[in-house]
Symmetry: C3
Subunit: 154 residues, 3 copies
């Protein structure tokens, strides 16, 4: 087992199966050393884990948990793309989208659920630039979606 | 005529004129082999084709048509940038934005209108990573906007 | 003082201190010649300058001013990343997010506040591809957020 997967297990997480794309797109596309990942939502084994808007039926705390699920799905897609989570050189960018009521101002606190997981798992390599915004809606009514770009080793 | 333009004609589509930028930006910027395209909306010959929100005056079906218009505008900008649609090596990423009522959950089904067109036209080269979200509003009240990154041949 | 900073002073602007990240992320991440910057909001010296939604308590004009503040924060992060604003080869992409009421259709006119500043400051090097959308909410209730990618000189 790779070092990163061992650490993930120590942290108490299990890598889910790669989520099925919810439309006519690829889970990832590589160009040179940059891996562009598709947006991933709050789904596990084909079942949505967090749906509805923060500020309505979800909270910052449950949204944070939803962002963790998204992060695990991104990791699963990265493994599918490059075979080994240890081959990530660095996380470059995370685009974070929170399904929220109009005027919601705490998108960073929600998306931290994903960022913290990448940071803890990869250390400095896991740190990334980010934008976190609240949007009107997400696929399958997911509470959170993240879109990640990473640099991979040759 | 290039192979891709011939195929586009067979599919029953005509490449529109490149849309005029709706603000102080460029229709595209190239860096190395990556072409960053500006967001494109539902406009044809200077006239908006689809305005208003999905879930209000637009539907998933009309939004899908709007996404096709966006895709044609992206192709027109790609041709303007690199001279020949055959010189696209691969589509990397599509950011899809649907102008929709709060809580709209079917952004993927709308953005499929663009993704399907790229896939059909380019085959495997047209497949891409993607994020599709519902937003509160779009330029000129467009129903759909897409932002595309492609890799181009030297 | 660098040429670009001199020009910025001539234009009547002062470069702010780099804004403190509002979450568990980096202000920038470089990969090769591409610098990915984190989203920046309407904040100056730790105090929010523009909060609330356009179409409610903010207008296109005040949003334009807010976008200028965002642009200055992006420049401050670029300087922190590469040491000298003259070392920007070109602006590649600006993602513009406007905190606005549902149905807001003038996001380009707001984000022009940032684009115009980059264009005036850098000339052709400052021109960029862009997508500008209205979203349901932004961090700390900021009126505007921009996320910028630039190419840097070696």
């Amino acid at each position: 087992m790779s070092q990163i997967e061992s650490k993930l297990a120590e942290m108490g997480y299990t890598l889910p199966a790669p989520p099925a794309p919810g439309g006519m797109y690829l889970p990832y596309r590589r160009h040179g050393s940059v891996l562009y990942l598709a947006g991933v939502i709050c789904v596990k084994d084909g079942v949505m884990t967090h749906t509805g808007q923060v500020g309505d039926i979800q909270t910052v705390e449950t949204g944070f948990e939803g962002a963790q699920i998204c992060a695990l799905n991104a990791l699963s897609n990265i493994k599918a793309a490059i075979g080994d989570l240890d081959k990530v050189e660095s996380f470059l960018y995370v685009g974070g989208y929170v399904n929220a009521v109009s005027g919601f101002a705490q998108s960073p606190q929600v998306i931290n659920g994903a960022s913290e997981l990448f940071n803890t798992l990869y250390g400095d390599r896991g740190r990334h630039a980010r934008a976190a915004v609240a949007v009107a809606g997400l696929p399958a009514d997911s509470t959170v979606e993240i879109q990640v770009n990473v640099a991979v080793m040759d």
